[in-house]
Each structure stands twice: as C-alpha cells, then as structure tokens.
C-alpha cells in the first residue's frame, strides 16, 4: 500500500514466528519483494530467498507495531480457519 513520503507498506498476517516460516514465505512471494527492492533505498540483497537472514533483519528493522489489530476468529490459526471451513462444506455436502 502506498504511504506518504514515497514509502510503501506491506501488511501481512501470519501464524507462528516470522523466522520459522520465512523460507516458505519467500518461496511464495520472494520475487515480489525482489522487484520492490529494486526501487527501495538501502534494500537487503536479492534474491531474498537466498539471503534469508538479511531479509529477516531488514523486515525486523522495518516492522511497525500496529495500532490496532482486528481478528475475525480470535484464537484460530489460518489452518484452523481453513479446516473449519472445509469441515462445514463437508457437512453441508453430506447433509
């Protein structure tokens, strides 16, 4: 999302620790970051998938604590939500 002063914000919600799944994260979206980093001041080295620690350090430095965080399903992880949706569909199909 474009922000003021030529800044962009990247908003992501994830389960667990950032470092745990960072390798998988960059597998899916690393190329997007690599593209953005071409137009970023003082970027971490690319490709970020190969420079995991540098990417983690950069992300930690750029991280901002949200002033508020809304959870539609408090206490549930993404996997839980997907599982419950799948189960409800399954029940509907068999009803």
């Amino acid at each position: 999302m474009p922000l003021e002063d030529n800044q962009i914000g990247f908003f992501t919600v994830y389960d667990g620790s950032f470092e745990t799944y960072i390798a998988d994260f960059t597998k899916n979206i690393g190329e997007v970051f690599d593209l953005i980093f071409k137009f970023t001041k003082n970027p971490p080295p690319s490709p970020c998938r190969k420079h995991l620690q540098e990417f983690i350090d950069f992300a930690a430095g750029a991280n901002r604590t949200p002033i508020g965080f809304y959870q539609a399903y408090p206490g549930l992880t993404v996997q839980d939500i997907h599982a419950l949706i799948a189960d409800s569909k399954s029940m509907s199909a068999t009803a």
Binding site: T20, D24, K27, L76, T77, H82, A86, D87, S90
Partner: protein, 525 residues
C-alpha cells in the same frame, strides 16, 4: 523415522528370489537416468561427481561407520585423495552416483571368468564435519572458503541438539564415541555385500587411516538388515526394530538415477539434495570446486526402546487394539500397508501390490480425501514427517506436494531383531544412518522441530496442541497426547502418557563433498 529408504519387499515369484535381487548379484537392474515417466527435465546432475548414497539406495545388507579424528592434517588430506584417485589397487574408491557397472572392479571373492555383475562388493562414502574441515586445515589454506548459507553445519550437531529435541537422555553430553565433542572429524561409511567383503575392506581402510598417523579411529558402529525366519529359513528383511516394514516411501529426485514406484508427490528438485547453483534458498559453499555437487547429511545413531513401545501398545488395549494402535501411530500397518489405503485391516481383500503401497494422498486438491485423519491420523508419524498434500503452515495448498522440507534417509538397524519371548535381553538395538539434505536448517531441523516435535503446523482443529510425533517425538509424559479421530462425529480416542521411544546416542552434521571437492582438498599444499 520411516519416511524414506531403499526397497520394497519384492514379490517372490520373480526369478532370482528376494536375496539375489535385493542384495545379490546379476539381477539388480537400475534403470538409466531419465527413464522415469514423470521426469520432465533432462538431468543436469553430474552423477560421476556426486557421492552415490545421496541419490542411490545401495540395498546392501551390512554397513560399518568409522568415526575418525584427524592426526596429521597433510597426511589425512592425502588419504582422502587416495579414495578418489581411480586406483582400486591403492585404496577402496568412493562410490559415486553413476550406475553400478561404471568403475566396477571385481571383488576378492570373484572368479574373473564369471560374467560381470552389476553390483560391487562394497560402497564407500564419507562426510566431514565443520570441525573436521578445520582439523584438515582446509579453512587455513582456502581463504575464500565460505559456508554462508549453512550456519547449522558450522555450528555442529551438539549446539543444535535442543532445537531438534535431542534433550535429556538424547542430549549431547550422553552421546557416545566422541560425537559432539569436536574430535568427530570424518565419518567413513562402508556398505558391503557380505561379511567377507566387510572384513576385507574394513582392514584396508583401517590400514589407510593409520598410515603416517593420518587419522585415528575413535569409534565404529555396525548395522545390518534384520533377519527373520520364513519357511524355516533365516532371510534378510527391510524391517526396523519396532516391527514395521521400512523403506516403502522414497524421495524421488527429478532427474535422479533411481526410479521408484509411483506416488502422488511431485519429484523433488535436485538442489534440495545436491548443492547446485540453481538452488533457490542457498548459496553453494565456496569455492565452487569445493561446494558444487556436494550435499549435507545428519548422521544419527538412534536407540529404539522396543520393549517400552510394545508395552505401551498393550497398556492401551482397553482403548484400542494394540496392532491398530501401532498402525495409527505409524500411519502404516506393520507389514507396510498404509492406513490411507486400508484403514481397517493389514490384509485387504485382493491385496495391495508393492508398487502401490506408496500410491496415496492424504488431502486431494479439491479438499477431499482424509483431511480429518479418520484413516491415518494427522498426528501419525509418517503423516508428520511427510504431510504430502495436507495443508500445513508456511506452505501447502490441498493436494500440494510439500516438498520443500523433504529428506532422503539412508539407514540400517543395529542390534539383533527383537525377540518378544526375551523382552529384557539387555541388548541395545536401534538405527544407524544419514538424513541427507541440502539445507540442514530448512529440511532436517525443520522437520524434527516443527513437524515431529510440535503441532502448530497443522492447526489445533486437526492436532491437539502440544502433541508430538507419537513414535519419535521427544515426549513430556504428563502433557503428551495422540488423538485418533473417529467417524460419524464420535469423539477421538485420546492416547496419553507417552514416553520417548527413541534416544539419540550420536549425531554429527556432515558435509558430503563431491569427488572434485575431495581431489581439491587432497591437492592443497
């Protein structure tokens, strides 16, 4: 772990019989590269430069591991070079991933007039720890040396032990034979086709190690395929001590030299197991002649508590039949039949051919299948170690392959087969071998820490929080739990009060250098 290994128990009606085809001479036939119909890219793997056990299961009945500490660094480097000098008369040679007949030399028991066979007497491989590279003075002599992407390797197994659950009885201070103490420099692994060949080549190796104080052998461990009696005769099996037939699920490498029976997973990219420049998530160690075509492996010696496991199964017989519990814990019946294909019996009508024993999926692309684990519990050992198409945190759409964290296992039991009539025989038994991967952090350590010893990856709807792998997890008995989902909305059967059924006796993080790399190290002045 029962994720990968080696061979199916083949049908007996084929010519040559089980032993001859699996361990014997003449009949073994490994297809040439790229004959796998699923292989869509031409191989780029330099098989002659890659150590064989990375890409091939040797299917030999006995193995011996030598742990060496460097004596004289220059002499040690010379000895390493002799393992790849092409002169079999000078030293046993490192086995590469090329087909068997390439470079094969007749063994001591061979009649030269016999037709050539396709399997050598022995296979030889080696791994070097980071402390080993230092002791060999590689770092001193190669200013550009870099293992930038491989911090776990340079830290070593002992420092990373807690991360993978090697605590308590499995903690490094309890490891045997000098493992984890900085003198564990080089692991040499010798597979042999017979006891005679093992004796012959062990003697040659021991002599080489000792030449000019190159190396000092500080530990050795032997493994052997388990025997069982069939039709009154002892035969070799592919079983492990807990009684399961092993080696059914295999990791197929795209463009690799081995062809395995079909399963629903895509072949793994070769850079997950061979250090290649095309890798997405690491830089090949530098200089390239040292790093390229190498790999990494975690050597482990794991003691199995067979008595504890069997007693645990029977202690829950009021909740569930012990053999069904054994199947639910593993994900397969002990004869290898997967719950995914036969949830109610180990002997389904019509049978399941060996080629089909790995041909199943947990969750299909449309979400169908067994998402709740009614057939195979989500927390079962093999479903944790290789979730296949099940969605997991960090990756994975339904029906995906979840290949990013795959491992190749090359292991063999040690100790005699468990005899239930003599449960307290005082004999230690377990598994010896390697978990092979390009990234120890992202593969071995990830699987052990997040999939085997945690439950977050599948979510609390599918897995009870704090639950761990019921077979290999590092358990806290008080909070341990294994849920076995039941059909028709019935509450799951909850099995609790697990103990840890395995204990790590030794571990080492090893670099598996290519042939080029060994030559490179050997020529350093």
């Amino acid at each position: 772990m029962s994720q990968e290994r080696k061979t199916l128990e083949p049908p007996t009606q084929e010519s040559g019989g089980f032993l001859r085809r699996v361990f014997g001479r003449g009949e073994h036939d490994i297809s040439a590269p790229n004959t796998d119909s699923r292989t869509t890219t031409k191989t780029v793997l330099d098989l002659a430069d890659i150590q064989g056990f990375i890409l091939r299961g040797y299917r030999m009945p006995i193995v011996r591991h030598f742990l060496l500490t460097v004596g004289d660094p220059a002499e040690a480097r010379k000895v390493l070079g002799r393992f790849v000098n092409g002169d079999e008369s000078d030293a046993p040679q490192i086995t590469t991933a090329e087909d068997w007949h390439v470079g094969f030399e007749p063994g001591p028991g061979d009649n030269l007039a016999d037709p050539p066979r396709h399997k050598p007497d022995y296979c030889l491989n080696l791994g070097i720890t980071w402390s080993g590279l230092l002791a060999l003075e590689i770092k001193n002599r190669v200013p550009t040396l870099s293992f930038k992407s491989f911090g776990a390797f340079t830290a070593g197994a002992a420092k990373r032990a807690e991360l993978v659950g090697d605590t308590g009885a499995s903690a490094p201070q309890n490891w045997i034979g000098g493992f984890g103490r900085g003198c564990d420099h080089v692991l040499v692994t010798l597979h042999a086709i017979s006891s005679k060949a093992m004796t012959t080549y062990s003697a040659r190796l021991s002599a080489l190690f000792a030449e000019a104080d190159a190396f000092r052998e500080i530990w050795r461990g032997d493994g052997m395929a388990l025997m069982e009696v069939r039709d009154g005769k002892p035969v070799l099996t592919t079983k492990v001590h807990f009684g399961y037939t092993d080696g059914i699920s295999t990791t197929t490498v795209r463009g690799g030299p081995e062809r395995y029976p079909p399963d629903h997973q895509q072949p793994c990219e070769p850079w997950l197991f061979v250090l290649l420049d095309e890798a997405e998530n690491y830089f090949v160690p530098e200089p390239p002649e040292l790093g390229r075509n190498g790999s990494f492996a975690v050597f482990k010696m794991i003691e199995t508590d067979v008595v504890g496991f069997e007693n645990f199964l029977h202690s829950n017989k009021d909740k569930i039949d012990p053999e069904l519990l054994a199947a639910k814990i593993c994900g397969r019946w002990r004869n290898g039949v997967p719950l995914a294909l036969s949830p109610n019996t180990s002997s389904p009508s019509g049978g399941i051919s060996p080629e089909q024993l790995n041909n199943f999926e947990y969750v299909n692309e449309d979400g169908s299948g067994d998402p709740k684990g009614l057939r195979c519990p989500v927390g079962a050992h093999m479903r944790r170690i290789n979730p296949r198409g099940q969605p997991v945190t960090g990756q994975g759409q339904p029906g995906g392959s979840n290949n990013t964290h795959r491992l190749i296992r090359r292991g063999m039991p040690y100790g005699p087969a468990y005899d239930p009539t003599k449960p307290h025989d005082g004999i230690e038994r377990g598994l010896l071998g390697y978990f092979i991967n390009s990234s120890i952090e992202n593969q071995y350590e990830f699987v052990l820490s997040h999939w085997a010893n945690d439950s977050e990856f599948a979510g609390a709807v599918r897995l009870p929080p704090k639950s761990k792998d019921p077979m290999i997890g590092t358990q806290d008995s008080a909070e341990s739990i294994f849920a076995i989902p039941q059909p028709d909305g019935a509450p799951p059967i909850k099995i609790t009060r697990f103990s840890s059924f395995i204990a790590t006796k030794a571990a080492a993080y090893c670099f598996l250098p290519s042939i080029t790399a060994i030559k490179f190290m050997a020529q350093l002045s």
